[in-house]
Amino acid sequence: MSYKLNSFSRGAVCATLLASALTVLMPAVSFAQTTLNVAQRQDPQNLDPIDTFSLSWGSIASNIFEGLVFRGEDLQLQPGLATSWEFLDNETRIRFNLRKGVAFHNGEPFNADAVKYTFDRLLGAEGEKGPQRSNYTSIKEVVVVDAHTVDFLMERPDPVLITKLAGYGAMIVPPKYIEEVGEEAFDLKPVGTGPFEVAEYTPTVGAKLAKSDTYWNGEAKVDAVNIRFISEDATRIAELLSGGVDIALNIPKPSVETIRENERVDLVAVDGPTVVITRFNTETGITQDPRVRRAIALAIDTDAIIESLLGGLASPISSAQGEKSFGNAPDLTPYAYDPEQARALLAEAGIAPGTEITLDFPGNYDTFREVSQVLAAYLDMVGLKLNVRPHENSVYYNDIQPNGKTGELYYFGWGGWTFDFDNTAYLLYHTGERQNAYISDEKLDALLESQRTTYDTDVRRKALQDVARYSYENTLDLPLYNEATLYGVSTRVEGFVPAPDDRARYMNVTVK
């Protein structure tokens, strides 16, 4: 079938085509607006720094806010909104010299008043409503010295404070703006000093960020970042593969192959903060005996688990921390796979072949569900029958683990964005911690407490390494792996540096 057009309609068609071509071309030619499209799993539901501890907040707000201290993807602490700091009065007072000529997105100047307001708000009634306040209660008060100098008066020593000033609750907020618009409006459209400002935030849908023209430390390379919340893993991956988004966060392990096989998308992995270990019940059952614990540790081939089950996207660990963690002891090597030795130790401890032990874990963690069955297979080879017992999440964390109702083995997964072993070690080994039902050891308590009262990094590092070494020698835990943080990045994207802690920053990213 063929159509013949008369001259009038031919002209009309041409005009239409031309017009549509122009409308398509025009934005590209005249505005050259570049937008980076990002997809992440979760909506933080609130952009206010003091109202959240969600990683999904970090991957948006690290582009909007800044702290006195800056910590980038290499995890080194650098001057941020403060140019320098010093410890005074026997380390009870920390003086921060503030950067001059910095303004919030709304034009309000950044100065000592803003810093004081930020911490008064965090430590006051408004901060009490959120989860961030408890991380900063070592600060007694912030005192304004002059317009560009503040003093932090300390309630007690807090060696991790400087790190904590680089994130979350310590992000500097504008006093006038909050007074003007109110707390609720600030939750949805906050103002910071960072390289991007919030153009639009729609809960459950996404956040649109626009380049800030007044940023003090250079200029973002894209004009806008469009972050969408796509909770369904398969949908987020599909958007990445089809080119709908340029960067996808929170890549689940089973999708790794799909991304690796696609040539327009790269998989970017970096060691994350989260470690997965199984802990021993050191109080009852056969795991009271350190020889049995060591035997179990030697019976597991963690390298094989990492290589095959986790696709190589995790690192072996010797204690409950990754290589990047402050307090990691590099001289400790992960327990080597040695089933012979394991069998010998079990025989020495008088454990009959076929003895049954139990592993408890929260059942909704798919990867560990698989890992647990591999553990069972390995233990079977040395003559231990491992029963795996999954629990409903809240039952596990509120009852089984804190109340010591576990079997001989139980799951523990943890990682703080501070990458400081204090965070994990204290709640694993200090007597009376909620999630530590079994271990009470004077030596560990003393080590853990000693490093909390000094700012001397060498002393602290040694104390934390000693904790790791003590745990290793007595096989208090069976360290499994340090999970990688995974990003799917389109090959059109350049300059993206993956953040280990999910606090992705888009300032230096370009899109071809």
Partner: protein, 289 residues
């Protein structure tokens, strides 16, 4: 049935008989195959179902005779797991339906025969229970008592006896007024004897139909609950658990979920066809629905 036996071969007789129906042949074939596989599971696959073999993880199907239907993310043989998994499905399906039918029938018989406060109480209780969504009830109870196959069976009995009780009670209400029951009563038979020897046999038809359909339904339910992580523990192979474990791999390894899915489908289909055939047999006029 018939006393006249024409001299034709058994083969021809079979095909002109009522057993020649599509439902009967396919339904029997599927169900018998399943039962045989399950009965001989440990002989067919002595240790294949739980043996982890990381070197052979996610082997594609139809490539080797060792792993005919491929392997799952832990390198376990999917065919062996399906056959062993059938044990759980069949066990849960049969035991829960049988348990419910026994409890429900007894309650229904007594409630319908004696009426009075027992009837009112039991039936109001049944109404309340029918209003509770099963999955919600299951999630709540499992959260309290912990997961396990035995608990699933008990949970199903507790929530399903109601259907049988209502069905039986309905039948008893009309049967108890019938002449043969009155005759039995005037004959001086005890109530228990009347209930179990005269009323129950006449209420059996719909009961058996409901039973077959419920077995199929419960196999599906068990799969759903295990899929949600409420059923069998991860080491025990079960069809729902296999689906649950495989769903993250759908894009790269379809066989991990597709084959257990087909197993569930064929089993439920077989039992449903048998149920349909039984309904036609026991109630050709369609009195019961």
């Amino acid at each position: 049935m018939s006393d006249i036996k024409p001299k034709t071969s058994w083969f021809l007789r079979f095909f002109i008989s009522r057993y020649a129906s599509f439902e009967f042949i396919v339904g029997t074939f599927l169900t018998v195959t399943l039962v045989l596989l399950v009965l001989f599971a440990s002989i067919l696959f002595p240790d294949g179902a739980t043996k982890v073999n990381l070197a052979a993880r996610l082997t594609e199907p139809f490539q080797s005779s060792e792993f005919f239907l491929g392997t799952d993310p832990l390198g376990r043989d999917i065919l062996a797991r399906i056959v062993h998994g059938g044990k759980i499905s069949l066990l849960v399906g049969l035991l829960s339906a049988l348990g419910a039918v026994v409890v429900g029938t007894v309650v229904g018989l007594y409630a319908g025969y004696y009426r009075g406060w027992l009837d009112t109480f039991v039936m109001r209780f049944a109404d309340i229970q029918l209003a509770l969504p099963f999955i919600l009830l299951a999630i709540t109870i499992i959260a309290i008592v912990g997961p396990g196959t035995d608990r699933i069976i008990i949970l199903m009995i507790v929530s399903q006896w109601v259907q049988y009780a209502r069905l039986v009670r309905g039948a008893v209400l009309s049967l108890r007024e019938r002449e043969f029951v009155q005759a039995a009563r005037s004959y001086g038979l005890s109530n228990t004897k009347i209930i179990f020897s005269h009323i129950l046999p006449n209420a059996m038809g719909p009961l058996i139909i409901l039973l077959t359909l419920n077995v199929a339904n419960n196999i599906l339910l068990e799969s759903s609950l295990t899929f949600l992580g409420l059923g069998a523990d991860p080491q025990t192979p079960s069809w729902g658990g296999m689906l649950s474990e495989g769903r993250n791999y759908v894009q790269t390894a379809w066989w991990v979920t597709v084959f257990p899915g087909i197993a569930i489908m064929l089993t439920v289909l077989g039992l449903n066809l048998l149920g349909d055939w039984l309904r036609d047999e026991l109630d050709p006029l369609g009195h019961t629905r």
